[in-house]
Symmetry: C2
């Protein structure tokens, strides 16, 4: 045990990536000197649990401490130094300068390998008043304590700036604590990684829970007034609040790497190869601070999520120990629960694919989470995106309740494995009435996409239908009349319920092409198959009226602009 160490590895940052790398390094090399520096007081805390401690679902603060310094040290024989900040790197000398934040002194340490896991810091836009004490960000336990203290002391209202994952998790948790919550988002939609029509149910869930959601809106300043915060908006309105949460994104925390001369991308992320090695042979980097490969779009990206950070850490440790394992890149799998609604995505969105000029297509399906005859089945909407030529799955978004997490994970693997929409037809998934259907939602997504790929049905997807499309078509709605009354319908639509279609087909003219719609798209497809074989020029409204209504709402929200 007192032999000369095999190598000396210094790790900067002790949350997801740093702690995982340290443990993996020790398992691979019992004889390495491993020193972990963490600026904050804690290591390996449950970053993704912070909002739920504030909201009360995770009542005990200590539950957020996944690993304590003592336990990690004992288990993995690590030299862990919390409240120690690495303030400079000298790559040529393989040496770092460390500041002991408690003792307020500096010292140097040399290394054979340096592993950077500094993470990303919440962006604080340079707005007047942004440094007021009630304007918070959420990154670590001290931030959490600060926000929780404000709430515990009776804060009555909050403004959340940014409607991304963390913004919505904070909005939900503050609302659960009884606060009046306003969410301010620059874009015309919540959850920017999603396509806008898909997250309308999330918007509606938020507003239904009494949260005031302001889209197409910006905060211009924070001010203090009578001991409270006043949040000024671009439209001239202001919102009084007891606290504000800034959740407008993160930026890589890479000043140290920059000063050391490591190669960064234009957004400041550390550039690494597939072994997680930086531009310096002896320095590796992982986690929210690095640029990674988007495995679907085959381009560089940044994805500040815990899962990839952990896997990168493992790979960096492997390579430091001479094992050439590779990181395969990311596909952006993510999920969020917003009250009772769940939204999940993987791969590329239509927005991003359009920006890239990709030749892609997509379908919507709206199946139930499990067999309809068994109690408790919940509806979900799946948007499946795939390549036009070979049907390869490029991305998916799912919004619903039960079973959303399952389907997004299956599609995540399908993307990793390069499966096509036609392969989804033949998925053999587990079926018992509590868990799925004999035709699983993903089989159905495969059927619908394959039908379109093979040309069995022509389809205009719900978000592609505008007034011009409607003007060019005769709209046939094949739902039952009760459904039109209950859910609404496209103005001017001709209602011929599917069971009556064969007998009433004589009254449909052939002067205009037909746009056939039902509630979710399935009956419209049946009707199109029928009408097409009878010689009609017909197109199905993909996703049906339900998705069309969502798309209309998304357009309305986008067109709304600033509130007067």
């Amino acid at each position: 045990m007192s032999a000369k160490p095999s190598k000396r590895v210094l790790i900067v940052g002790g949350v997801a990536g740093g702690a995982t790398a340290a443990a993996r390094l020790r398992r691979l090399d019992e004889f390495a000197d491993i020193v972990l520096f963490e600026r904050g007081p804690d290591i390996a805390f449950a970053n993704c649990g912070l909002p739920y401690h504030i909201g009360g679902e995770i009542p005990r603060r200590e539950d957020l401490l996944v690993q304590t310094v003592g336990a990690m040290r004992a288990r993995f024989n690590l030299d862990i130094r919390t409240r120690h900040e690495v303030v400079a790197i000298e790559p040529a000398a393989r040496r770092v300068t460390v500041r002991d934040l408690e003792a307020d002194r500096q010292y140097t340490e040399s290394y054979d390998y340096l592993l950077l896991a500094p993470g990303a810091a919440p962006i604080r836009p340079p707005l007047p008043g942004v440094d007021l004490p009630q304007v918070c960000t959420l990154r670590n336990l001290p931030d959490t304590d600060r926000i929780k203290a404000l709430v515990d002391r009776g804060a009555g209202s909050a403004v959340v700036v940014g409607a991304g994952f963390i913004g919505l998790e904070m909005a939900e948790n503050l609302r659960r604590r009884g606060l009046q919550v306003t969410v301010v988002e620059l874009l015309p939609q919540v959850l920017p990684p999603f396509d806008p029509e898909m997250v309308v149910p999330i918007y509606e869930q938020l507003t239904g829970q009494g949260i005031d959601v302001r889209l197409n809106q910006a905060v211009t300043a924070f001010a203090e007034q009578d001991g409270r915060l006043r949040v000024e908006l671009r439209d001239g309105q202001s919102i009084p609040a007891d606290l504000a949460i800034l959740a407008v994104g993160v930026r890589p925390d890479t000043d140290l790497a920059r000063a050391a001369g490591l190669k960064l991308n234009e957004r400041g992320a550390i550039v690494v190869d597939e072994h997680m090695r930086t531009s310096d042979l002896h320095i590796f980097a992982v986690g929210d601070a690095v640029e990674v490969r988007d495995a679907v779009l085959d381009e560089p990206t940044m994805l500040p999520l815990a899962g990839p950070a952990n896997r990168q850490a493992r790979i960096a440790a492997d390579n430091i120990c001479g094992r050439p394992s590779r990181f395969r890149g990311v596909q952006g799998t993510a999920i969020v629960r917003v009250f009772d609604t769940v939204a999940a995505c993987t791969g590329a969105s239509a927005k991003r694919l359009r920006q890239r000029g990709a030749a892609f297509d997509y379908v919507y399906v709206r199946p139930k989470s499990h067999a309809g005859y068994y109690p408790g089945a919940q509806p979900m909407t799946i948007k499946l995106l795939y390549r036009c030529d070979d049907g390869r799955v490029l991305g998916a978004q799912i919004v619903g309740g039960e079973g959303v997490d399952k389907r997004i994970d299956v599609l995540a693997v399908a993307i990793q494995a390069g499966l096509t929409a036609c392969d989804l037809e033949q998925l053999e998934l587990a079926y018992a009435p509590q868990f799925g259907s004999a035709k699983d939602p993903l089989n159905i997504a495969g059927f619908v996409a394959a039908n379109k790929l093979r040309g069995d049905v022509r389809s205009i997807e719900a978000d592609q239908v505008d007034e011009q499309v409607l003007a060019g078509h005769h709209v046939i709605d094949v739902r039952n009349p009760e459904e039109l009354r209950k859910f609404g319908s496209i103005p001017g639509a001709d209602n011929i319920p599917l069971p009556l279609l064969r007998e009433q087909v004589g009254r449909i003219g052939k002067d205009k092409p037909l746009l056939v719609t039902c509630q979710a798209g399935q009956r419209g497809y049946y009707a199109c198959r029928l009408l097409g074989q009878l010689g009609f020029d017909c197109t199905n409204l993909g996703g049906g009226y339900a998705t069309y209504a969502q798309a209309c709402k998304a357009r309305e929200l986008a067109g709304g602009g600033d509130r007067a």
Copy 2:
């Protein structure tokens, strides 16, 4: 609409396969004549829901009727004839003889294509008394009505013969209705598709719910005594009961196909090609009555499940309409909920791989369903089986609660796509604390398998450890002493908690190879990495003490033989 039909297709059987094929045929060909014959009174009923109607979770009988004759007829323009039985096929003449069971008359119908979806019938072993009215099988709605009537009229006890999926679903539902339930199973385990050690928690769940489970046991006769049933067992005991359910498996219902001279396999299943075509060019067959390809073992098999039946039906319809789509075979994905415990499997079990002499290996992991810091996480046990040479995933079994269905579906797709255990390391699955972990259970399964494949740790899996193995090893248990007291331990094990291992390593002798154990296998792996690098000859107990205890229990149940 009155044009000459394009073709005439007759379908025998109107449940999963028949009804799906009819609908698909109509979508592909508006001009075909499609006649569906169903011997029973209903079509397209929810086969898999029947036990839950008896148990009360699906209170309304009509909810089991997924499609009614009227709705199917109107939507798809089908000629549906319930209570009509096809009693003979003349392949050369392309003609069938049909018996109208209500009118008690016979007639013939000719076809261009015949599609057989006769299903499988519950096996009724030729035992004395098997035809007594209280001895039931469960296949259709009349069977369900009969059993439910017996329960509704106050049956106080039941014997379920067979501990497969249907047997256990019936046992649970009868127990929920308050009956005393005994399950009699010939094999030394419940759920025969699983490996025995994996389903010990299901056995314990059943017995914990007050169900008397008799393994290694057989029913030899049924008798009536004072108006009740007496079920005689091989060991001489007898069980009084108000009803018995025979759930000992099914046999293909193929007398009709046999009489027509179609090629059957030795177990009576109809042999079809990958287009679902039988030995007769004009006759297709789908569902529980056909032999299919096991896609993992690449050998013929039979898999009476609804999901494959539905997909086969679609493919048969395609081929009848000139589209050469292919069925890729089955991998045996299945799931069952038994009270609060869920058991799911996909691909091959160790039992089957051993029978085939395959070069495979496997690991156990025991992760939580979601992040431990978020409330409600439930443990699960995963057994992952893979090929020795390249790590390709061959099968998986998972037992737990929440999230079992998700992980088995992901692994089902991984098998379909030909992924390896090492690919599982890099799965990018959806993580938020309610749904998973930064290192998902399947990432962990991948890590553990990859560690073994790469030789980073030597491991004896929990079910491979017997007295001989123990005698050859010095057992080091690295759990904390409280865990040994709480869960038990291997006799003679030396307890050195992992955090103390480095300082106490001096007291471990090198005379014997070490077998290192912890609770679930992870800490044992850490210890093995440490000890191995210090020069010890050590092996981890894969799956840890928890899995070892299950394996011991499985062996005890297997060795128990008949109860005296």
